[in-house]
Amino acid sequence: MTTTSDRVVVIEHLTKRFGEFTAVEDLSLTVHRGQILGFIGPNGAGKTTTISVLVGLARPTSGSASIAGADCSRETHRIKQLVGYMPDVFGSYDNMRVREYLDFFGAAYGIARTERRKRIQEVLEITNAEWMQDRFVESLSHGMKQRIGIARTLLHDPEVVILDEPANGLDPSARIEMREILLRLAENGKTLIVTSHILPELARICNQVAIITHGRLRAAGTLEEIMARVSQERTIEIQLSSGAPLEEAVRLVTDFSGNPDAVHPSEAESMVRLRTNRSEEDLGSLLKTLVSGGVPVTQFREVAADLEDAFLSVTATPVSD
């Protein structure tokens, strides 16, 4: 059970307009302590604008946002201490080694010299980047830079860490490393807000998801809650043996479903996919019908809906005025 004091990030009826253009409209969202919020949406949905308001880089047109009780537009000095923000652009400096780079930001945050030295060592350990400390920042690969970006974000030990597209452009192994780092941070009690286009990555680490399109929040909650809300139908895959009579299988499945649009045959895969909200018992009877009808079924399985399905389902629905 969560209490009010657990609510670390609170956004209430946030609207941000740039002239005629509305980037974010009436957005309300809450993130609790220790949670990882996956903030997803297509390009131009308003994710970065929302984050800019949260970190004090932009003022809301109306509504409010606060982090750990500090108002994001009025108490920007406190926000800077409470939040560690990694923008989508790295922001490197030429001729600077990783340790010098972190040292500069540590000093900019007013961390005392001895404490800073210790803290740099800690954040390099957290991000598995100790071996990079003498490398020049501009010579690092994208994945390495992302790790240093997170290390920089953690320097002043913020309560909330906001990462804008941290997995963007990373290869699979770097993505796995990034995922592990983020999970480690959550274990250490940090509250994380992560935006990403790579939805399977988010699905693996987030315990809260918020989907935003055209500046409006379309769905928010745990992954399971969103799935339940956006996907009432299940997808059943019926795999046939090669050379099996596909037409007969399609006929039987369509008779069962009563809706030809819900049946999707694939001759290349020898497979029939069915979208349905029928019960387990009904599905059992369908399998029985297929087998008794002479259709050689090799697999009959439910495809688990994922974040990608939820995202596509939400974004496909037109925005109501």
């Binding site: 800019s52 970190v55 004090g56 880089l57 932009a58 003022r59 537009s73 920007t76 000095h77 800077k80 201490q81 939040v83 923000y85 923008p87 652009v89 790295f90 922001g91 490197s92 400096y93 030429d94 001729n95 600077m96 080694r97 990783v98 340790r99 010098e100 040292d103 500069f104 930001f105 540590g106 000093a107 900019a108 945050y109 007013g110 005392a112 010299r113 800073r116 030295r117 990079m132 003498d134 490398r135 020049f136 010579s139 920089r152």
Partner: protein, 551 residues
């Protein structure tokens, strides 16, 4: 080559910079002719007025080509390299020479358009009479075209070696300044003496287009204090320019290959990991070893200032120390030579050399250091990170200004020993030296604040660097055009008025350098610079507050 030329011209003419340049040139020509067009129904049969307009027109054209043309080729190759489009070009069936000449032709195309914009003004000069079409007007255009190709070749060569567009801009403008102005300085001081150095200096100045242009405008040789001069300054310049262009073209074409990209990433080796022998050697070679592991930023130190010292590409400490040492040695050597009587120069001449040297350093180095202070952060995304730190706008601005101020102070101090020896030789000049030092300090402060303010208005360091150089050069070199026309068309009062804004001229007048001693520019110049500095500082503070404020 055609494809490259078309693309280059399209992207060049689409820039706001190109439009501003063309509009500026057209308006300047219009004003020039309108101001000098004969009034009333009187006809000037001697063509005096026409020649005066032509002189102004010629110098304005020269300034426009020298100041505006290098910025396009200087960023051309390095920007393509950064954007990875150079790899695509080199991977295409186009030869490296086709790529090179396409880019060079685009520069020339731009200049041709600029020249067409000046044709009405030139035609007006010719219509007023007194100007020879084949003897003056057409050769002037020929010199301008050759100069444009020469500067284009120089810019492309620098661009093929530079790592970033802004460093390419700095190096190119530095090289242009050396080519156009510095090549004439040795002759100015050595003329009248009989030595191989004097002969070398005599020929060296023809590398610059200025003597050729002066010849065509009927001004004879620049800086010439005694009679005599080259028989064919125009032809000499054209030959030297063509030779230089060919050499640069060959070098750049050879450079345009995949070898440009064939370099490993730095592994970040620090001096502390090297052997004792290597560490000792580096200590002597660098004085301040750039590869050593640095300690943490200390308390009571502005972190932004330290960050600037550590991250700047241009003006890193080990190079500055070498520069400072060279300045100190040169200024002492010059003064020493006079003391021993081995050089037949007065204290004024020595002072003039030192002043020119210091001013050149200020004008060359300051935009390189300060023009990227804000624009560099905006370009790299660092500004967003700075805004996220608890540092105030004042701390950030102070750190940035201090990082350049300390450097400039170091450079100014380097030449002070020369002045001290001068005062020791002739104590009567102590007041002049004091005034020169004030002028230099004011110039340095003004240049820093000007370049930083310009930087706050741009999101690209290369554009900010060019804008800063152009403004500073207009002030320090552009106003000298009035001095060049000091007998005609400009009178004493006009020249003095124009030079009052020029700190170089002010310092030269104080030190009684021949040609400048007759003008009274101090303290008016101090007031002008001081007022401009304060105004710019206010504007800069406002810009920083705007940039720091939430969107």
């Amino acid at each position: 080559m055609g494809a490259i030329l078309e693309r280059e011209l399209l992207s060049l003419f689409r820039t706001r910079r190109a439009f501003a340049i063309q509009a500026g040139v057209a308006v300047a020509c219009l004003i020039l002719v309108a101001l000098r067009w004969p009034q009333g129904a009187q006809v000037d049969l001697a063509g005096m007025r026409s020649r005066e307009v032509f002189i102004l027109f010629g110098y304005a054209l020269l300034s426009a080509v020298v100041l505006l043309v290098p910025s396009f080729p200087a960023s051309s190759i390095v920007r393509e390299r950064q954007q990875r489009t150079l790899v695509l070009l080199l991977h295409s069936p186009l030869s490296s020479s086709a790529v090179y000449f396409g880019k060079l032709a685009a520069t020339l195309g731009f200049v041709v358009v600029l020249i067409f914009l000046t044709v009405p003004a030139a035609a007006a000069c010719h219509a007023m009479g007194g100007i020879s079409l084949t003897g003056q007007l057409l050769p002037l255009y020929a010199v301008m075209l050759v100069l444009a190709v020469q500067l284009g070749a120089l810019g492309l060569w620098v661009s093929s070696h530079a790592r970033t567009p802004d460093s390419a801009m700095r190096i190119t403008y530095g090289a242009v300044l050396v080519l156009v102005l510095f090549t004439m300085i040795p002759h100015f001081f050595l003329q009248g003496t009989q030595s191989s150095a004097a002969t070398g200096a005599f020929w060296l100045r023809f590398v610059s287009p200025i003597p050729a242009v002066m010849e065509l405008l009927g001004h004879r040789d620049i800086g010439q204090r005694t009679a005599g001069g080259a028989e064919y300054p125009v032809a000499t310049y054209l030959v030297s320019a063509v030779l230089m262009t060919v050499v640069l073209a060959v070098l750049t074409t050879r450079r345009l290959s995949f070898r440009m990209f064939d370099a490993p990433r730095s592994q970040g080796l620090v001096t502390d990991q090297r052997s004792l022998l290597q560490r000792v050697f580096r200590r002597f070679a660098f004085l301040v070893d750039p590869q050593r592991r640095k300690s943490e930023i200390g308390p009571w130190t502005n972190p932004v200032m330290i960050k600037e010292f550590r991250s700047r590409q241009f003006g890193r400490l080990h190079w500055l120390l070498r520069l400072v040492s060279a300045c100190a040695v040169i200024s002492l050597a010059l003064t020493w030579a006079t003391t021993l009587g081995s050089a037949d120069w007065g204290v004024e001449t020595i002072g003039g050399i030192i002043v020119v040297m210091q001013m050149a350093l200020i004008v060359l180095i300051t935009p390189g250091l300060a023009a990227g202070l804000i624009s560099g952060e905006l370009e790299s995304g660092g500004w967003k990170l700075l805004r996220m730190t608890p540092m105030s706008a004042g701390v950030i601005l102070r750190g940035k200004l201090l990082s350049v101020s300390w450097t400039m102070l170091l450079i100014l101090l380097a030449t002070l020993p020369g002045y001290l020896v001068m005062v020791w030789i002739n104590p009567l000049v102590s007041e002049q030296v004091r005034q020169v030092v004030i002028s230099l300090v004011l110039t340095a402060v003004f240049s820093i604040v000007l370049s930083t303010t310009v930087s706050s208005f741009f999101r690209r360091t290369s554009a900010a660097t060019v804008a800063s150089y152009v403004v500073l050069l207009v002030i320090c070199a552009g106003t000298l055009l009035f001095w060049l026309g000091r007998d005609a068309p400009f009178g004493h009062a006009t020249v003095e008025g124009a030079l009052k804004i020029n700190p170089l001229a002010a310092a030269l007048s104080v030190i009684r350098t021949p040609g400048f001693a007759i003008y009274r520019l101090i303290p008016a110049n101090w007031w002008i610079l001081g007022t401009l500095t304060v105004l710019l500082l206010l504007l800069l503070s406002l810009r920083i507050r705007i940039l720091m404020a939430p969107d």
